[in-house]
Symmetry: C2
Subunit: 305 residues, 2 copies
């Protein structure tokens, strides 16, 4: 390319091994860039682009010539919560086929476990109890996927391929969440976290679902009103919750979710980023920037994702 | 039809609700037959066909005009073990799309749980431990499906659709099981139980697999040498076993499998028969018999399945 090399900063809070893995993957995927990292001295003036995971508040605003930010995470709610972030700075979310696949695997595992009672059989094993429970066909199970982006689309497609009755909902839909959860045996949450979706999974939604329904939250802990969820599980209105995300992470050891017999706790692993695959996505966006073309998957700041 | 109505006997060991469910489904699916049941008096002389699940030994031999047996189960090893069974009596296995789908769901759930470490995360939850484990891509996981019939084919196809590296093996293959398990991270057993497959999953096979591999047994308990499996798990050669079937069922309360941290016990629920769907399969075979055509999925008595 005849364009001058981009100066790119890798910035954020990583554990050391994770930072090295990203550094290796990114510098290998985009060797034409001049890479810097924020755990070492670097020249703020020259940075054109930043590749970030949970960067320190104010850091991006301190880079005078920054013209592009690539998130390594699919969710950008924490990034956008930095009030110092320049308003017109283009930000790309991570949209990675490998991450979408991982999310779909987790959703499929959770839905299969709910549909086929494997969570209940695990509880039976702990009690040394041999009991066959009724088996339903997949086409008798309705699953609602909240969030209809690339990730929601991949999840919905894989569930439908197994024969489930799948529908999707997005916040900018004509119908309300309260209307659409009626009759849904399983709700899988993949919504972006915005002011409009915070606390969306609350008592009213749980009450609108059929008795014995279940939820799978793979998006953000703040989508769920924890006390409402516990009440719905304890009353039997909901039969189970599979939760990968929490208001505070790691989930505090004294949180009621850990020991609740109807809650499955995962340590935010529904879709870990696959560094080599994600680095290819980053490289493609940096190459577009260098050519003066628009990067892919830019965040709509007014929508919040 | 101009053919005389078939006299059909429903026979076997059922719990009462199960027997009623079968009775309703079968008589509704094949109302042109004259149905009898072995928990009530019936005329042995008139029975043309028997629809059976674990029938009493000697019962079938006592029906002088019997000319067809339809198993309600996919596995016919127990049926064939009845030494009084007339040698030339045609026997059909149950091959039901709904049952194949249920088996594929269970296999997929188990493989996803092994691949994505969800069994390990369940153990972490019980210990109130928040720890993310490395995540692999599906195309980095090799799965060997033992048994290449309709069920094995359905399981292999669904696993391959998720991106796993899937291969299948059947006993009448040119290569031995010992050769083919090399390099397989997960082995899913769906073999029929015959003299040639009994005890096939033994120390030699476990030792030939890569260290940390896992097995999923959805076929028959007698395929596994229990002591060898426990030794392989305890040495770390195998990382986990998901077992739906056992030498003796229900699994005895004092059996080591129940409490082993690396064993998942399911109470023989990988694929419960779906009565309405299976009744359609039975009806189609009875109608073929009435027309003088061969029924589908006849057992090869020399092969044992």
């Amino acid at each position: 390319m005849n364009n001058p090399a981009l100066h790119v900063l890798l910035a954020g809070r990583f554990d050391p091994a994770e930072r090295e893995a990203w550094w290796r993957a990114l510098t290998a995927a985009a060797p034409e860039c001049i890479w810097q990292r924020d755990d070492a001295p670097f020249d703020r003036e020259v940075i054109d682009a930043a590749v970030v995971a949970n960067p320190a508040a104010g850091l991006l605003a301190s880079l005078p010539n920054l013209r592009f930010v690539q998130s390594l995470w699919a969710g950008v709610d924490k990034l956008l919560a930095d009030a110092t972030l320049p308003v017109h700075l283009p930000i790309a979310r991570m949209v990675d086929p490998a991450m979408n696949a991982a999310m779909a695997e987790t959703a499929l595992w959770a839905v299969l476990g709910l549909h086929r009672r494997f969570f209940d059989y695990a509880a039976q094993q702990r009690q040394v109890q041999w009991q066959q429970l009724p088996q339903r066909r997949a086409d008798d199970v309705s699953v609602l996927v909240l969030g209809a982006g690339q990730m929601g689309g991949e999840v919905a497609a894989r569930l439908a391929a197994q024969g489930y009755r799948v529908s999707t909902w997005r916040r900018r839909s004509a119908v309300s969440l309260l209307e659409v959860v009626t009759g849904q045996g399983i709700v899988v949450n993949l919504l972006p976290l915005t002011d409009g979706t915070r606390g969306a999974l609350s008592a009213a939604v749980f009450a609108a679902m059929p008795r014995g329904a279940a939820i799978v939250n793979l998006a953000r802990g703040a989508h769920v009103v924890d006390a409402d969820l516990l009440a719905a599980l304890d009353s039997g209105q909901l039969s189970r919750a599979v939760l990968d995300v929490f208001h505070q992470e790691p989930l505090r050891a004294d949180h009621a979710f850990w020991r609740h017999p109807k809650i499955t706790v995962l340590p935010h692993v529904a879709a870990l980023t696959d560094e080599p695959s994600a680095a290819q996505v980053v490289a493609a966006n940096l190459q577009a920037l260098a050519r003066g073309e628009p990067p892919q998957h830019l965040v709509d700041r007014s929508a919040g994702y």
